[in-house]
């Protein structure tokens, strides 16, 4: 391995992500340089530590047993948190590279070995998602200092860094495996084949997420076996095992698990490099379809009141979701999170919390709508210029994008509500209200996302492009979550109250309804002004 090359390439890939959406920014600006992430990590680490340390000091003086019961599990799971963060965020954000960019990967022609490339790319991925572990490590240090577990903390911190790489290598493997899955049907004909390919890709990503997700593994395997047995045989938990034995005063066993964990991460590096060799330059799948019927129109969309041009845009975007590999994680990530929340809220054998399930369903629908709408404009890439050269108004464009997102989100809401209905059989009236709130959540997610996307989309073709600027993505997601909770929680509290027709319940639901109407009106206006601004001048 050539460390100099790895460092240089990782720096370039990181800069590519950091400068996403800022084509004219000063390349010497701190905000466009990888060091900003180190600064952010340090700030988060110190910030959390600064808050947690005095608070934990107070807790120790008032309830020492509480601190002792929390401290060990937190330190034990720090490395697993790192893996989970990289996996979840990686799937969500690291697959926006188009096949074309992937195929002509800027680094492929350079004298870089596959192992060096994987190491560099993983370093970039690990670094990008390092703020989350930095937060956890800041809190962990406070716990360690208060409880005196400094050595355990040092070990946990080292294993957390290793965990970041573990997640990043898994992401690299998935990055290589998905073009293979998308090429499975190369040469076949028919739209069914394309749809099949999309389903296959969704299944690959979903299976990967669930197979390597610590929460799922612990929940499923924990049901059939004890914690120790489960974590001993799954490499993902070997760091936890090492820390556990360390805290129990068994350094030899701890060393054994550390060695095993390092070996497993090295194996992942090797496997990711082999996969990259195999799919070094993924050729675009050659798929032929049956003869196209010109001017067939979109009668269903026309019925919804869309003009032919708007319908054509919606149809084009919906087609994109069945054919564009980089869009599939947008559909899968909310599904994974919804499934996790379902499992958490309705454990087999335990009492079912209908209120909790309905709120999470609503939130998942909003999350889905936010993911789709936030990325719906940036996914036009450079074609946005061609699009606005057509006789298309900002209003046409916004209506089409809103319709695409809302249609997909409403379908997602229907599917999720049906699953919840079958699995948990909620009472009829609250379930019906929940269905309406889920649709409201889809509308809110759509409008929040488009308000942000019309202003902060990224249309650049880069080695690591994003559809929307990362900061705007975060702001849009968390702003949207807040708004959805503000409306969904009172609505569902009212619906599931002992007396849904009582004054208090009706007041809650009326508040939610009024807030929803006001929010939709304000957001529709904000999205419209954003679209008008975009049509006036597309960012170069």
């Amino acid at each position: 391995m050539n460390l100099h090359r790895i460092r240089r390439l990782a720096g370039v890939l990181l800069a590519s992500e950091l400068r996403s959406g800022r084509s004219r920014s000063d390349p010497h600006s701190l905000l466009g340089r990888p060091v900003i992430l180190a600064v952010l990590d340090l700030a988060l680490f110190l910030g959390v530590f600064g808050i947690a340390y005095p608070v934990l000091g107070l807790v120790r003086s008032t309830d020492p047993s509480l601190l002792a019961s929390v401290a060990t599990p937190v330190l034990l799971f720090l490395p697993v948190i790192a893996v989970a963060t990289v996996l979840l965020a990686g799937v969500m954000f690291e697959f926006s590279t188009t096949t074309r960019v992937g195929a002509s990967d800027a680094a492929n022609w350079l004298p870089i070995s596959p192992t060096d490339y994987v190491a560099a790319s993983s370093t970039a991925v690990a670094f990008v998602y390092s703020p989350a572990p930095a937060l956890a490590l800041g809190g962990g240090l406070a716990i360690a200092l208060v409880t005196g577990a400094i050595a355990t903390y040092g070990l946990a911190a080292a294993l957390t860094v290793l965990g970041l790489y573990e997640g990043a290598f898994l992401i690299e493997m998935l990055r290589s495996a998905t073009p293979r899955a998308s090429a499975v049907l190369s040469g076949r004909t028919g739209k069914v084949a394309l749809l099949g390919r999309a389903v296959l890709l969704i299944v690959v990503i979903l299976a990967f997420q669930l197979m390597f997700n610590p929460v799922v593994l612990l929940q499923f395997l924990g049901a059939i076996s004890g914690f120790a047995e489960v974590t001993s045989v799954i490499p993902l938990f070997w760091s936890t095992q090492a820390l556990l034995y360390w805290t129990r005063g068994a350094p030899a066993l701890a060393a054994l698990f550390i060695a095993a964990q390092v070996g497993f991460v090295a194996f992942l590096l090797w496997a990711a490099a082999r996969l990259r060799v195999r799919f070094w330059a993924p050729a675009p799948a050659e798929v032929r379809l049956e003869p196209h019927r010109f001017g067939g129109g979109h009668p269903v969309l026309a019925l919804a009141g869309l003009t032919p041009a708007e319908s054509a845009l919606v149809a084009k975007d919906l087609t994109g979701f069945t054919r564009r590999r980089e869009l599939l994680p947008l559909l899968v990530t909310p599904l994974v999170i919804a499934l996790l929340l379902f499992f958490e809220s309705g454990r087999v054998g335990g009492p079912v919390d209908h209120l909790q399930i309905s709120i999470w369903t609503t939130w998942s629908v909003g999350f889905f709508a936010l993911m789709v709408s936030l990325t719906s404009i940036g996914q036009e890439r450079r074609s946005i210029f061609g699009l606005f050269a057509f006789p298309l108004t900002a209003r046409n464009f916004l209506r089409a994008k809103s319709a695409t997102t809302f249609l997909l989100s409403a379908a997602f809401a229907a599917g999720l509500t049906a699953v919840a209905q079958v699995l948990y059989r909620p009472p009829a009236l609250p379930a019906a209200i929940g269905g309406v709130v889920a649709l409201v959540s889809a509308a809110l997610g759509t409008l929040v996302g488009l308000t942000v996307a019309t202003r902060y989309s990224d249309f650049q073709e880069r080695p690591r492009p994003q559809f929307v600027r990362p900061g705007a993505m975060m702001a849009g997601l968390f702003g949207g979550f807040g708004l959805i909770f503000l409306i969904a929680v009172p609505a569902m509290l009212g619906a599931y109250s002992p007396d849904p027709a009582g004054a208090s319940a009706l007041e809650s639901m009326a508040f939610a309804g009024a807030a929803a109407v006001a929010a939709v009106a304000l957001l529709a206006r904000a999205a419209r002004t954003g679209a008008e601004r975009l049509a006036r001048e597309i960012p170069a």
């Binding site: 049956e290 010109f294 001017g295 900002a394």
Partner: protein, 277 residues
């Protein structure tokens, strides 16, 4: 080869003046555009009369593509005016945009669609009726030797095939102003010849105005009635090739010498010699 170009008929014209009316196809006056400290277009003015092919020449970074995007209303000029077919160009001027065909510098296509699906999508954007679009698209696909490939996804196309799809999408609605940014990029000689002949034919017979940027000076010399040379965002010279020769004091020279002389990059011998050492 394409048959004779049928008369313009199916597009809704609104209040756009008819062909042959006095207004030029395109008129740009004192257009200025800066990107931060970079002055991309500096006080550029040009006309594209109806029925003429005007070549826009300039070195890399001269501002050609930015000027074309200003013309199309997808980049807003800091100052100056753009009139297309006698009407002010604005982002919301959809009626005017319906009269323009645009081929970008690199094809901006949806690669997950097939060629046929993409062209059908473009026809939807222009509100073309099904019969007309079917006929015209079929005609162009055959002429440009894409027939038989139209049901494959564009992601599998070569660069030249993508360029052909971009050209068809600019021509399919029979625009009255064509804006081609390096429009012949990647085309094989046969297709390039067809497109050149078609552009001339559209200009001569249908009164279409064509603004055509290119680096290939032989192409400009062959098809352009007039040439505009842009350098550092400014219009250095405008006129026929013969007029420019006279202005540069290089009678009997080719456009390349005239261009290099006018842009002040004529003395390349020393540079080449230094590079070769």
């Amino acid at each position: 080869m394409l048959g004779p170009v049928p008369p313009l008929r199916s597009m809704a014209r609104g209040t756009i003046p008819p062909p042959g009316a006095a207004a030029p196809a395109l008129s740009v006056r004192h257009a200025v555009k800066s990107y931060g400290p970079v002055l991309a277009v500096a006080d550029a003015s040009l006309d594209v009369p109806a029925g003429q092919v005007v070549g826009l020449l300039g070195p890399n970074g001269a501002g050609k593509s930015t000027l074309m995007k200003i013309v199309l209303g997808i980049v807003r000029a800091d100052s100056g005016t753009v009139q297309v077919l006698g009407r002010e160009m604005a982002p919301e001027a959809v009626e005017t945009k319906a009269q323009i065909g645009y081929v970008p510098e690199s094809p901006l296509l949806y690669e997950f669609l097939t060629g046929a699906e993409y062209l059908d999508f473009v026809a939807d954007m222009y509100g073309m009726d099904p019969r007309t679009r079917r006929e015209r698209i079929g005609q162009y696909l055959t002429a440009l030797e894409l027939a038989g490939h139209e049901n494959s996804m564009i992601s599998g196309y070569s660069q030249g095939m993508k360029q052909k799809i971009a050209l068809i999408s600019a021509l399919v609605h029979r625009p009255r102003l064509l804006v081609l940014d390096e429009g012949l990029n990647g085309l094989d000689p046969r297709s390039a010849r067809i497109v050149k002949d078609l552009l001339r034919s559209l200009a001569r017979q249908e009164g279409v105005g064509v603004l055509f940027s290119t680096h290939v000076l032989e192409i400009a010399q062959a098809i352009c009635d007039e040439v505009v040379i842009l350098h550092h965002g400014r219009v250095l010279a405008t006129g026929t090739v013969a007029e420019l020769r006279g202005r540069a004091g290089l009678p009997g020279s080719g456009l390349e010498e005239v261009f290099l002389s006018l842009t002040g990059t004529g003395d390349l011998g020393e540079i080449v010699a230094a590079l070769a050492r």
